[in-house]
Amino acid sequence: MDEIIRFKNISKDYHLGKSVIHALKDIDFAIPQGSFLSIVGPSGCGKTTMLNLLGLIDKPSQGEIYFKGREISNLSDNQQSELRLASFGFIFQSFNLIPVLNIVDNIEFPLILAKTSKAERKKRVMRLVDIVGLRDFIDHKPDELSGGQRQRVAIARALVNEPSLVIADEPTANLDSITGESILEVMEQLNKEEKVTIIFSTHNLQVMKYAKEIIHLKDGVIESRKKVSAP
């Protein structure tokens, strides 16, 4: 299977005053297309840093990142924005929806940035609204929805531009276990049906079980990587 993303000798350091924190140390790995992969590990192990680097919202201190065989870590800010818009989808722990826009507008926003036609926008948004089960809430603003519903909106927004890769940072952390599982079921379904590569971080064992592959991070290095056999 073709690889979608490759980290080559990636390190990330944070400078806090005079001290330097090595968040990631010489990471080297590749992720095949269509993966449903979980990055796990204790707090502070570098999960979020890794996802931020994967999603081009942070820059590595050292090393190269490749997307579909093309180096992307050296792209300009504008080129990175264009790549994020066209190929990446983001799901954040605290949903990060635009509070002043309703559900439809929130989901539609990336399509407007991508200059998609109005008819196509409507078609794609309504399809995703149906997939995430929010048809009855399309006129609602984010603060009128529950946490689970908000995360479903965030999933729909992440997928609306038909990205190759969806990055989710602790997508269930702010949700109760039942809602969290339902969110992962939606993500799993999308991975299967839409063939979208999904990489998510978690430190929750219940959540990990949904992943087809797990990368264990500890102190900024990959401790292990293993495939999970279907139950």
């Binding site: 504008n78 983001f90 954040f92 990060n96 635009i98 002043v100 926003f109």
Partner: protein
């Protein structure tokens, strides 16, 4: 969608938005009011002062350097041909001779030092007196005098009373003549009222023993812009025995004052703009600080830096449009009110011939400039906030607390 987000944000952060809009409103309001006042002052100068003095004046040589502008040493004789010839020049609509002289008005045991003017009854000049007659008529005949109500009060005189006018005539001999008060005026300028009286030109010639003489020729132009060129042309034509001055030379200090006022307006507007821009910048910055995480999300999903910059500036421009519109809308009725009723500014501006009441003037060009300034202030104020927001890294924005 950017405008939609901006409008929603404006509503969501309405208290701070109101502050920004209010500052712009107040700034534009005062800029408009100040412009209206200045435009009215300038209009008053051009409409009133120039109609008093004329656009061009001709005097005998030496008048310009004379200490006493009412001196009879500079009388001109046989000027009728000159007046006729000058009237024929294209662009000139009226030429008139005037005798100006110093005098003492006497009634019973009261007297008053004053300037006299021998003029024609149908003069287009001296509207201050002519259009403000409150009793009687403006120069009925050669035996009547027109004085102000203030002069009447000072001399304890009324319409129909006789008052003596004492002068030093052309030959430097003291002389006097009594005249019946035929008209009483009351202008907006107390200084003008206490300093001027009017008789016919012929009466003045007789009083001053200066038959056939005059002290000044006033010329009114169709277009004020032509006055300077015509004055130069006349000076060449009349030769060195006469002094020809255009309105800028006649009112040299006032013209400088008006020009200085132009600078004051610019300075005042700049001050208003700087103060309001700094407050607006802070207010907009505070609003944008509340949205840093939102901006981080937008950037993460593909919004470019310049698009984020545009989003913040769009909000500023919308606030500017609303604030500036309201500022103009509130200022215009007030300017129109003061345009009709005038603003009483006391005797402060009387030395400039503007009267104690200042009539504003509504000039749409000035209103447009102020309106655009208001939008530019908001635009400028939002630029810094937009720069700060767009420069912040995505990761910093997403983790901003």
């Amino acid at each position: 969608m950017f405008i939609k987000i901006s409008l929603f944000n404006i509503w969501k952060y309405r208290k701070r938005t109101l502050l920004v809009v209010f500052i712009i409103l107040v700034s534009v309001f005062f800029m408009c009011l100040f412009s209206g006042m200045f435009d009215g002052m300038a209009k008053g100068f051009y409409d009133n002062m120039l109609l008093e003095s004329g656009h061009i004046q001709i005097h005998q040589k030496g008048y310009k350097d004379s200490v006493d502008s009412l001196s009879l040493d500079f009388l001109m004789d046989n000027v009728d041909t000159m007046i006729n010839d000058t009237s024929q020049i294209s662009g000139i609509i009226h030429v008139e001779k005037t005798i100006n002289f110093g005098a003492i008005l006497l009634k019973d045991d009261k007297n008053l030092t004053i300037s006299g003017h021998g003029i024609h009854q149908d003069t287009p000049f001296y509207d201050n007196a002519k259009k403000n007659i409150i009793e009687g008529d403006f120069i009925e005949n050669n035996q009547t005098i027109v004085v102000s109500s203030e002069v009447c009060d000072l001399l304890d005189a009324k319409l129909g009373d006789y008052i003596f006018v004492m002068v030093q005539d052309k030959n430097h001999s003291a002389w006097f003549q009594d005249y019946k008060i035929g008209g009483i005026f009351k202008s907006q300028s107390s200084q003008f009222d206490t300093w001027n009286f009017f008789i016919s030109h012929q009466a003045a010639e007789e009083l001053l023993d200066a038959s056939g003489y005059t002290s000044e020729i006033k010329i009114l132009m169709k277009d004020i812009k032509e006055a300077i060129a015509i004055a130069k042309e006349l000076q060449i034509k009349l030769g060195p025995m006469f002094e020809v001055e255009d309105w800028k030379q006649i009112h040299g200090s006032l013209v400088i004052f008006i020009k200085l006022f132009d600078l004051y307006v610019i300075f005042f507007n700049l001050l208003v703009i700087i103060v309001s821009a700094s407050v607006i910048t802070n207010a907009i910055l505070m609003i944008q600080f509340d949205k840093v995480r939102e901006f981080g999300t937008l950037r993460a999903i593909g919004l470019k830096k310049r698009q984020l910059f545009g989003l913040v500036v769009t909000e500023g421009i919308i606030e500017g449009l609303v604030g500036a519109s309201l500022g103009v809308m509130l200022a215009v009725p007030l300017i129109l009110y003061f345009q009709t009723n005038g603003l009483n500014i006391g005797e402060m501006m009387e030395s400039f011939g503007l009267g104690s009441s200042l009539n504003f003037s509504l000039e749409w060009d000035s209103m447009m400039v102020n309106f655009i300034s208001g939008i530019l202030v908001a635009f400028g104020g939002s630029l810094y906030a937009a720069r700060v927001s767009s420069k912040r890294s995505i990761i910093n924005s997403l983790h901003f607390v």
